[in-house]
């Protein structure tokens, strides 16, 4: 089967407990898209892409002492990569099926 070549790399390196620096990379390889970003706590990482192909957003943010969850370096990156959902509407009294925790 012929498929698109994908590479996903992720690297989170805690450089300093106080500086909380994080380097993160994520992307699609084989010339489709590469996104890289780096930043420190509270900053916005830079992103770049060598393609208009839907690309990976860069996770990153702060990992200060191992207990703080990093936040996305750019909360809006990746926008447009998701298909638009037709408008939702409330339902009636019958329930055919349920979406639930499993």
């Amino acid at each position: 089967m012929n498929t698109t070549n994908h590479v996903v790399r992720a690297r989170w390196i805690t450089v300093s407990a106080s500086a909380a620096a994080v380097v993160a990379t994520a992307g699609i390889a084989s010339g489709l898209a590469i996104v890289q970003g780096s930043g420190t706590a509270g900053s916005t990482a830079t992103t770049s892409s060598n393609s208009s192909t839907p690309s990976a957003e860069t996770p990153g943010g702060a990992v200060s002492d191992g207990s703080t969850v990093a936040s996305p370096s750019d909360g809006t990156s990746g926008a447009g990569n998701w298909p638009p959902t037709p408008p939702l509407q409330n339902g009636g009294s019958n329930v055919h099926a349920q979406t639930s925790a499993s």
Binding site: M1, N2, T3, T4, N5, H6, V7, V8, R9, A10, R11, W12, I13, A24, A26, G27, I28, A29, S30, A33, P54, A56, E57, T58, P59, V63, G66, S67, V69, A70, S71, P72, G75, T76, S77, G78, A79, G80, N81, W82, P83, P84, T85, P86, P87, L88, Q89, N90, G91, G92, S93, N94, V95, H96, A97, Q98, T99, S100, A101, S102
Partner: protein
Amino acid sequence: MTNALATGPEPVFSTGLCALGTHVRLLTTDVASISVARAMLIERLAELDCVASRFRPSSELSRINDQSRSAAAEGRRTVTVPVSDLLCEHLTLALDIAARTGGLVTPTVGNDLINAGYDADIEVVRSRDEPLQRDHHVPGPADRVCQVDKGVLTLTAGVTLDLGCSAKAAAAQRWAAEIAARVGSGVLLDLGGDLASGGRVPRGGWQIGVVDWTGSIRQVLTAHDGQAFATSSTRVRAWPSEDGGRHHIIDPRIGSSARTPWAQVTCASTHAHWANAASTAAVILGVDAPDWLSANDIPALLIADDGTEARVAGWPTTSTHRDRPA
């Protein structure tokens, strides 16, 4: 009476079973089609389990994970393995999801799941008197490569793959369409809370209840063509641990169960796998989830640990609270 029947809700028919470590429910608009639909579903479930199960030792995925560990033990950097068409499709989709979520939802967290104690069927994990202590080697420094090209997987030696973040939802999406095409009626498929439909929609639409971890219906939505739903939760696939408890949603940034204020996130999308990817990413993102969901126009109902709700990106605001359905 005839008019009422013609304009009222259309009856649908359902069958259920347990598979993939969760509940499975199939609904059709035509009672005559349900036995064929069920047989087809069981066949597909068996195929998927043989390919993508992390807990079945003989599955294709388990054999690849074994090869990955062996390669690491031999000091090799990568392992290269031809994969079946079905596994190739699931891996390709999982990598697409990883890209769209910036690496937050990734198939490369198998070691982290094992280290967290999720190394067997969830019932086995829950039944342990004491948490399992595992310390599987995680390729370092946290650099994991997973590549699929022309049916060949290249993986950093030592990485354990887990397709729990995508395979079930993707299967729901594909099978609903396949079964509907085969039986010629409308089909709604629920694989452990990942919902997708195929074929014609019953009069009035599919009625979808969003159910929380206590069994209460928080809201009922009407699903039409091109709408799928998925729910991710920290409350159900969870087990005790020395540090207070773990769950199955791994935050790859910390290599452990996500620390999040959300007990449950339900997302809607065009496909169940996109909905599931988004709901999983939202749990991992924690307080940043509403902004991320809004930025990506992904409708979602988020329920916090204290039961409070947040709705984003066009998720309807009117809610109805009901008891658990019969």
